[in-house]
Symmetry: C2
């Protein structure tokens, strides 16, 4: 906190997950703080405390005591968890606030679209209608034996019943009067059991997932969990069609913007791993609820799920240790594909539903990258192809015929708007496109609102334009004589939007330091690409295609990206922006066993290149930072 003007005390309010900081004077509410920063919290009643829409959660710092109004809206458990009404709560110091998606009046832009690839449905689930003869005093078989008998009549041998299914089976059988539609999970075929072998010596061939409704489609859930955002898809397992899509912020964001800080959170708090896992599981349960509501389907109809994410997210989601991912040599606990009982994780789906997690490649190249390689069909390219997904961490693969080289580079959160003076995520008011002409600066914001800050695609454009207009040089140095460059922190700052055009009435600046952040980020990405090419003995001229996936990759301007040297100078028509390919890959694995097998065999063909130990990495990186 600071004392300004002698008297007035101000506190900082960090607004998550939007990533904006507001300064408030003592007595101002959280709602006022958010509004001053251009973050639009829902306040239907205009702050009168009657609508209860402006729910926020206090993550750090101290707020005023809950008011009588708030006590009407929250129970004890919610208050203990830090839930408050933004229109009532007043910061008593520096605070950090999480704004749930439902409390934002304009949702953040979430990337859920991805190319649909036509994959023939071949799900792990099959559906079977079964009618049983009810028990009598002369037929006392147990419920499982009775069902096993009825299934055998239909050619299904030795079904397996997991604990979550057994816990409801007897009740369901009687409620449904011995006539069920069952979802069964195909299990690996085995042979060789001895004649007369007892129960536990033979492997079951089908696992019962649950009884499902006959009047609704049987569906699966595919989720791509990013460090910042999650994208969920509800897919009809019979037709393969996507019935609903939805995006949600990753609720872990309140515990750290990037995976490194979440590892630190997990390490530094006794129940940190559990808390981070619970937040993700709650998020997925919410997401499943939203998707089911949209499609008009009961959540018990979700009989299978696929979840992809980077390796740290994968470990946090499954509750695995992450400490060893936080220090060199950055080792994954598990790299093999996993099938985990949804109930064990706390997911509320069909009782016996499992979550399939494709294999991880390395500590910083995860199952989401596998999903992306699958969706982009990188495994069957005939010309050398780069496939990458830009984020806080950027995973890059160079696909050669049948073989893949992969690496990961720490591109940092600059493209998420972090570490940028006026940075923010892709939300309303974010500058997303810029042109600097001789006659001035043209700026376009998301939603055409007064400028609030600069998002990832915007900062990329700005640096390209600044370089183009010779406001910055090769090394990133700013021309301090330029009329729009003002003195700032030694390096200068470019006035992108005058105070008249901004939300808060202050100039919107791009600083020398911002330019440097972008140099580091783009340099890391380009170095990754160049090291992979060097490993394969190729140059960028040999590339037949350059596939850019992910949210940021969808919105970035390819010309700007090549102009600043983030991408190599190849013809623009060789670039492909494919949207959320990880989500598409997840959907493919959801509906197709063959795609799961493909993902698992692909891992065997990938050579992971650890950049930090590559002999020419430093040289290549230094070159790559040049603008």
């Amino acid at each position: 906190m600071n004392k300004l003007d002698g008297d007035e005390e101000t506190f900082s309010v960090d607004l998550e997950p939007v990533g904006r900081r507001a300064a408030v004077t003592a007595g101002m509410t959280l709602l006022g703080a958010a509004q001053s920063a251009g973050v639009e919290i829902a306040a239907v009643c205009g702050g009168a405390g009657t609508c209860g829409k402006c729910r926020v959660q206090c993550i750090e710092g101290k707020l005023s005591e809950p008011t009588a109004v708030e006590l009407r809206f929250f129970n004890e458990r919610e208050l203990a968890a830090g839930y408050r009404l933004a229109c009532q709560a007043v910061p008593l110091g520096d605070v950090k606030i999480n704004i749930p998606p439902g409390s934002l009046s304009t949702p953040q832009r979430l990337q859920i679209e991805g190319q649909e690839t036509e994959i023939a449905p071949d799900p792990v689930i099959e559906i079977l209608d079964v009618d049983l003869v009810p028990p009598t005093l002369h037929d006392l078989r147990s419920d499982t034996l009775r069902l096993t008998g009825a299934l055998a009549d239909q050619g299904v041998d030795r079904p397996f019943f997991g604990q979550p299914v057994l816990r409801s089976l007897s009740t369901v059988l009687r409620d449904q009067e011995w006539s069920l539609r069952l979802a069964l999970r195909r299990l690996p075929t085995v042979c060789g059991q001895e004649p007369g072998a007892a129960h536990s010596e033979v492997q079951p061939l089908r696992e019962v997932v649950g009884a499902i409704r006959r009047d609704q489609p049987v569906v699966g859930l595919a989720v791509d969990i990013g460090t910042t955002k999650m994208a969920g898809y509800l897919v009809d397992l019979v037709t393969g069609h996507t019935l609903a899509k939805a995006g949600l912020m990753n609720p872990q964001i309140a515990y750290g913007e990037d995976v490194v800080s979440r590892i630190a959170y997990a390490n530094d708090h006794a129940d940190g791993r559990r808390v981070l896992q619970e937040r993700l599981i709650e998020g997925l349960n919410d997401l499943a609820g939203t998707l089911c509501a949209e499609a008009g389907i009961d959540r018990e109809q979700i009989v299978d799920a696929v979840v992809v994410g980077n390796t740290v997210i994968h470990h946090l989601f499954t509750g695995l240790p992450v400490a060893q991912l936080g220090a060199a040599p950055y080792i994954a606990s598990v790299s093999e594909a996993l099938d985990i009982e949804a109930e064990y994780l706390g997911l509320r789906l069909a009782p016996g539903a499992k979550v399939y997690l494709p294999p991880n490649i390395a500590g910083y190249v995860g199952a989401d990258h596998i999903a992306m390689l699958l969706a982009t069909e990188a495994y069957k390219v005939t010309e050398p192809t780069i496939v990458l997904d830009i984020g806080t961490n950027t995973e890059i693969s160079l696909a050669l015929e049948g073989e893949l080289l992969s690496c990961s580079c720490a591109s940092g959160p600059a493209f998420e708007g972090a570490h940028i003076h006026a940075g923010m995520r892709a939300a309303p008011g974010a500058v997303e496109y810029v042109q600097i002409g001789t006659d001035g600066v043209y700026v376009q914001t998301i939603g055409n609102r007064p400028a609030v800050g600069i998002c990832g695609s915007g900062i990329l454009d700005i640096v390209a334009e600044l370089r183009n207009a010779e406001v910055v040089g090769h090394t990133g140095r700013m021309d301090k004589n330029h009329p729009r460059v003002i003195p700032w922190d030694g390096g200068g700052a470019f006035v992108l939007v005058d105070k008249d055009g901004t939300h808060n009435g202050h100039d919107l600046l791009v600083t020398r330091r911002d330019v440097n952040e972008i140099q580091l980020a783009k340099g890391a990405i380009r170095a990754g690409v160049d090291v992979l090419l060097a490993e394969a003995g190729l140059t960028h001229d040999d590339l037949g295609a350059f596939i850019v996936a992910g949210a940021f990759g969808t919105y970035l301007d390819l010309k700007s990206a090549t102009r600043i040297g983030m991408f190599p100078p190849i013809p623009l028509d060789r670039f492909k922006q494919v949207g959320n390919a990880a989500g598409s890959g997840a959907r493919q694995m959801l509906i197709s066993q063959a795609q799961r097998r493909l993902a698992e065999s692909m891992v065997e063909k990938i050579t992971y290149v650890e950049l930090t130990v590559h002999p020419s990495f430093t040289d290549i990186y230094m070159d790559a930072m040049v603008l």
Copy 2:
């Protein structure tokens, strides 16, 4: 509650699990109530409220508000759960109190001894020492891949890692500096996977259970859960030796004395099933703790477990529905053997330990009976043999060469001391042996204390002696002219112990109604035996052996049992009292895979006979009730 003598109000205090009822006048503490009933609650400080030893739990009814003394000993959660100090709490009405074992000054007699059969150890667990090469930036394999590689070097292919193990593996590997002693679980052998088949198409051959200490034996836990009591054994899996034994009351007893009332509790309470399961799991965790402390072994060394119990206990333990067991035709949810992750059940053992539950035979013949048949080797008798375990429910098998006939009869809780006027469980002060001579009555109590009540073996003796002395006739009618018979409730009562010899200074009575309870109980058992014999076309003269298992069966007087016709009149040397055979069978299955297979194949050879639909059951039962 009653008003006595015009003024003084009295309340009844039911003391569980001992099964005694005390009457208290207003203002008397629970400690006083228990003492007046001869139940010895620990009170080191003499009721001053300083030792905190007399912890009890209020299950039903209203007590005085907690005193300041109690607030020092209990936290809010404990108070909410009804925990109180017996020396402080005063009943405000009729109450039901549970006395935890630790609060009883003299423990109840629990049956944990059973015949040791020599079984060659052939456990499902094997032990392997593994040394791994630590990861480097040039060897980035995930922890599971690294361990899989090291295991392959030792001939173990495709190990499986369950979630509970994965959650600790990376931490353990680093803590133990890449050198581990592993417990592995043998899995069924499979064949036939395609060459080049991917990960999830092949079945693992070993499952990792956990890393164990090298300086302690690797052990398993066998538990026989009875309706009233539990017996636990800690067994060295390499030598097969029992390292520790312990008994504990079944904590569910506070929710109903017999399985029928527990089913009712589960049905009538929203979370009844969960509560009953949690109590059992807590009990098992306590038992494991006691056993480990006795043997000086960490509980993480427990890498495998076997649990046996009747079908209702089995279902309550595993969290399965029990409603269908409470109404005809009394169907089990599951009859097949189960292997359940200990962690899933809430048991704290080695992370990947599983609990093996042998198959159930029917709704009222459970896995404990299978264990007993295994331990008594009933499956390989050459002469017709009866094997039975007397309890609230009595399970009886007639073993013929290779085949078994089994039934269950509702013998009621009379032998547990319930429904008997002065009945109690086998605790200090219980009459356990009686002789009625012409010169008087000789009575022996457990611990040679002043008589408090009559336990199961005592009441059996008494009825036999009363019949012998012609105090009661064939039909159970009491000779009202006998000098020790006093008028009572229309049917009379026999003064077993004069008030001078009893704890509470009142005559200890055996009523006509008590005799009738025993007639019903012994009639049911004998009818079961006779129906099975009839089914096989045999008479009791054909019986080569008559095996009596279980706690009550150990203490009962065989002569008395045959004299009242509970057992058929065969030579005494054909009877065998084998103690807790179910516990012995559980131990055998713990150390031997072959014994598990035997148990599973035995079920196939059992024909269950439902007594209630047997054509001559009613006639046989009527005959069997005659004394």
